[in-house]
């Protein structure tokens, strides 16, 4: 089912009698998602408003991510949270999955760039929340609640996003010859000093990459200071641009093996890295690990960490606290009292 308008979508959802999943390009589905009848939002397209001087863009959910990125690039702007571009990905899928790339360490996640939404609830009611201004504390922030909700609260039909200027200069520091502890330490040094690092990760080949962006003189100055701070323990090379970060961001898009996504504190990363199978990447300065693993492998998680299987079997660890599970279920029921909306918006 592929509604052409928000009203048509609302009518479709109201009329639904069996489970549905809301999808865009269906490029970010996790194991088990996208069941039931799919309601495909790819006909709801278009940038409805773009004010570069206010750093805001408002986009209908089915608009291809690539189209949004091209429109912003034409004005020398970007989505600061750096979602990975997958063929066919829509902006609605990006926000429903809260898809956030390496720049999350400095610019925040997708949910942090989301200013407002229009959505159709599980009852087929059209609502809006938030707006298109940076600061808004008028009522509850259902925008954040819907970010990453994977379509379970309703179908997001339009989203207002904060944009950011494209930095004039980008440079990547490549560090080689570091073990797990050395890699985490280098990323920590980069992120805890006054270097304004906008990405810190490790590629599958073991190279630690640190990104500096901004005005030319400033990037050069900070690169120099950062090299000094990192000391002699690693071989450091500075390269122009940030192609390495695209590699890091796009890791895991191809392949068959189970793919785990683990979020934890950087200070907890080292013991976990020691038990990881290859290949894997580290991002967000050590707070995100994504790893391919045999089907029956399970991470031994430190306190507070979370792991989800992005490919393979449907699996999330640890089990959700019962009170939080009750709140999650209650909120889902409040938006979707008939319980028709399955996970699937991606």
């Amino acid at each position: 089912m592929r509604p052409e308008t928000e009203k048509e979508l609302a009518a479709l959802i109201r009329a639904a009698t069996s489970p549905v999943s809301i999808t865009g390009g269906a490029t970010r589905l996790r194991p088990g998602e996208g069941q039931g009848n799919r309601i495909d939002l790819r006909a709801l397209t278009g940038i409805t408003l773009y004010e570069p001087e206010a750093l805001t863009v408002v986009v209908r959910a089915g608009t291809p991510l690539a189209e949004v990125q091209a429109a912003l690039a034409a004005e020398n702007q970007m989505l600061a949270f750096e979602p990975d571009p997958r063929d066919g990905s829509t902006i609605g899928g990006v926000v429903a999955a809260n898809a956030s790339g390496p720049r999350r360490v400095s610019a925040g996640a997708c949910r942090d760039a989301m200013l407002g939404i229009r959505m159709v609830t599980g009852e087929g009611e059209i609502i809006r929340n938030g707006g298109r201004v940076m600061k808004n504390v008028t009522g509850y922030d259902l925008v954040k609640l819907s970010a990453g909700a994977r379509g379970t609260l309703g179908a997001i039909t339009e989203v207002a996003l904060k944009t950011a200027p494209v930095p004039p200069v980008r440079a990547t520091l490549r560090l080689t010859g570091l073990d797990d502890a050395g890699a985490i330490a280098a990323m920590t040094t980069a992120l805890t000093g006054p270097f304004d690092v906008t990405g810190a990760g490790r590629l599958t080949n073991g190279t630690v990459i640190l990104r500096l962006e901004g005005l030319a003189g400033s990037v050069e100055y900070r690169a120099g200071r950062l090299r000094e701070a990192l000391g002699p323990q690693a071989a450091i090379e500075t390269v122009e641009g940030d192609a390495d970060f695209a590699t890091l961001r796009d890791y895991g898009q191809t392949g068959e093996a189970a793919l785990w996504r683990i979020v934890l504190r950087p200070s907890q990363a080292e013991p976990l890295l020691a038990q990881l199978p290859d290949p894997h990447i580290v991002d967000w300065g050590g707070a995100l690990i994504r790893a391919e693993a045999p089907q029956d492998w399970r991470p031994d998680l430190p306190q507070g960490a979370r792991a989800d299987c992005e490919r393979g079997a449907a699996m999330s660890l640890p089990e959700t606290d019962p009170v939080i599970a009750r709140l999650n279920a209650g909120i889902r029921a409040s938006f979707d009292p008939r319980g028709l909306l399955l996970e699937g918006a991606a």
């Binding site: 201004v133 009522g139 259902l142 100055y221």
Partner: protein
């Protein structure tokens, strides 16, 4: 401003309820019922509206907050959470049948972890004391409401507070990684997690900014950032509001991201000059733009800002060359609210608008002000469109306050009309409750209230705030009583 009639069945049980609360707390002095002492809690910083509470409780731990909430839940007593009481929207204003739970004793730092770039605190700690705890290690906590010396982190979370520097660093919700929350039934949950990610829905995201209506946040994990090497402001003076507004847009458009862009108009400049003599130029509007980084970075950014500003023929472009000059540039802006208070009573609005609408909105405010016969001074965070029009009135002149409230409502409706919202950082509280229908449809409000139903089915936590009284009446279980 109306409040619902208090529940007399609660008030008649005051002694019994107070006794139960006292039993539940380690320190008997943590429960206050003496009317002379509860008066200190009869209002927050919106002091026009007052009402002494049934009792005040000052717990020291999460477990004590949970015990108090269990009792209040059991006794069906409304609860009003309170941080430092700096709310400008009446967010922690009590009712006669409510127990105020104050966080003033909960100020401990629980963990500082530079490697993970976070600090965990009890939420009665003040905003500035969070930065104070990590400054020695080269970090700061970014959201900086003007009240940061006094306001508590718990209140910041309740109101999703912002500040002058949020253009670059975001507001509270962008810097909150986790929270220990006590629900109305006494259940304690840990929300968020590493990078702010928790299990399933982003419950932390909806708690932040929910004005103490979903739970009481007793502990918070906050993102801390490395302190920049330095910061320097410039002051740019213009002969018209339009030109100043256009300059703001051009700076943002150019790709430079200053940490703050502040705006003041002539009435505001005149008042602050009389008050503190900052030495501001004679002009219609001025901007204070602050950039930060290392010395060479600051120079590079300021050079670009100067080039942009020259295109708008400013009356003056004053670049700070020293700590003292920086202080003087900020002096007038930071004194603005105090300075206005000297010349007149005033009401401070908090609407936000898309930056592109700035000249139009300033013009329209001028017209509305003339029509109402009340002067309006403008001072605000121009970079993010968060306006603070100050309406001057005479509290002793009969009818003035009402005219002032009407003009305020007209200005806020104007903000919504041009694509903005009723409140950018102060919150709805009791103050803007009845205006919510200007921004949201009944269905929009219903969706929000259903979320409260999940967290607090009996609507005991800070009820009669945020939502128009008639809209929330049935849920508060007092259908017809509000008219009284």
């Amino acid at each position: 401003m109306e409040m619902p009639a208090p529940d007399m069945s609660v008030i008649s049980r005051r002694d019994q309820i107070a006794a139960r609360l006292t039993d539940a707390l380690a320190d008997p002095a943590a429960v206050i019922t003496d009317p002379a002492e509860t008066r200190a809690y009869e209002c927050d910083a919106l002091s026009a509206y007052r009402c002494p509470p049934l009792a005040v409780v000052l717990p020291s731990t999460t477990a004590e907050v949970a015990a108090v909430l269990r009792i209040c839940h059991d006794e069906r007593v409304p609860v009003v959470p309170r941080g430092a009481g700096t709310s400008l929207a009446g967010g922690s204003m009590p009712t006669a049948d409510a127990v105020v739970i104050g966080l003033a004793r909960m100020t401990d730092v629980l963990e500082i972890n530079p490697q993970d770039r976070l600090i965990r605190v009890q939420t009665g700690r003040t905003n500035l004391a969070v930065t104070g705890a990590v400054a020695g290690q080269g970090f700061f906590y970014a959201p900086d409401p003007s009240s940061q010396l006094a306001c508590a982190i718990g209140g910041n979370i309740a109101m999703n507070s912002g500040g002058a520097h949020c253009l670059k660093y975001g507001v509270t919700t962008n810097n909150l990684l986790g929270a220990t929350v006590v629900l109305m039934d006494g259940a304690v949950v840990e929300l968020g997690g590493p990078m702010g990610e928790g299990a399933g829905l982003d419950l932390l995201g909806v708690i932040c900014g929910s004005e103490g209506q979903l739970g009481i946040v007793t502990e918070a994990t906050l993102r801390i950032l490395p302190t920049p090497e330095g910061a320097r402001p410039v002051l740019i003076a213009f002969d018209s509001a339009e030109t100043a507004g256009a300059c703001v847009a051009a700076i943002i458009r150019s790709g430079i991201l200053p940490v703050a862009i502040e705006y003041m108009d002539r009435p505001c400049i005149a008042a602050t000059e009389d008050f503190c003599g900052a030495g501001y130029p004679d002009c219609e509007a001025l901007l204070i733009v602050e950039v930060e980084g290392s010395a060479p970075e600051i120079d590079e950014q300021l050079r670009l800002i100067r080039d942009i500003a020259q295109g708008f023929a400013p009356l003056e472009f004053r670049e700070s060359g020293s700590e003292d000059e920086s202080r003087r540039i900020w002096l007038g802006r930071k004194s603005a609210f105090g300075a206005m208070g000297v010349i007149s009573d005033y009401m401070c609005l908090d609407g936000t608008i898309p930056v592109s609408q700035l000249p139009h909105v300033l013009n329209r405010i001028g017209e509305l002000s003339a029509k109402a016969g009340l002067r309006v001074a403008n001072v605000f965070h121009a970079g993010d469109g968060n306006m603070h029009p100050l309406i001057l009135y005479d509290a002793n002149a009969p009818g003035d306050l009402e005219r002032c409230e009407d003009l305020g409502a007209d200005i806020l409706r104007l903000c919504v009309e041009v694509g903005g919202c009723l409140t950018g950082e102060h919150g709805v509280g009791v103050e803007k409750r009845e205006l919510m229908t200007a921004q949201y449809t009944p269905a929009d409000l219903e969706a929000q209230m259903r979320v409260k139903d999940v967290f607090d089915p009996q609507w005991l936590l800070n009820p009669a705030k945020v939502f128009p009284l008639t809209v929330s009446a049935a849920r508060r279980g007092q259908g017809g009583q509000d008219a009284a």
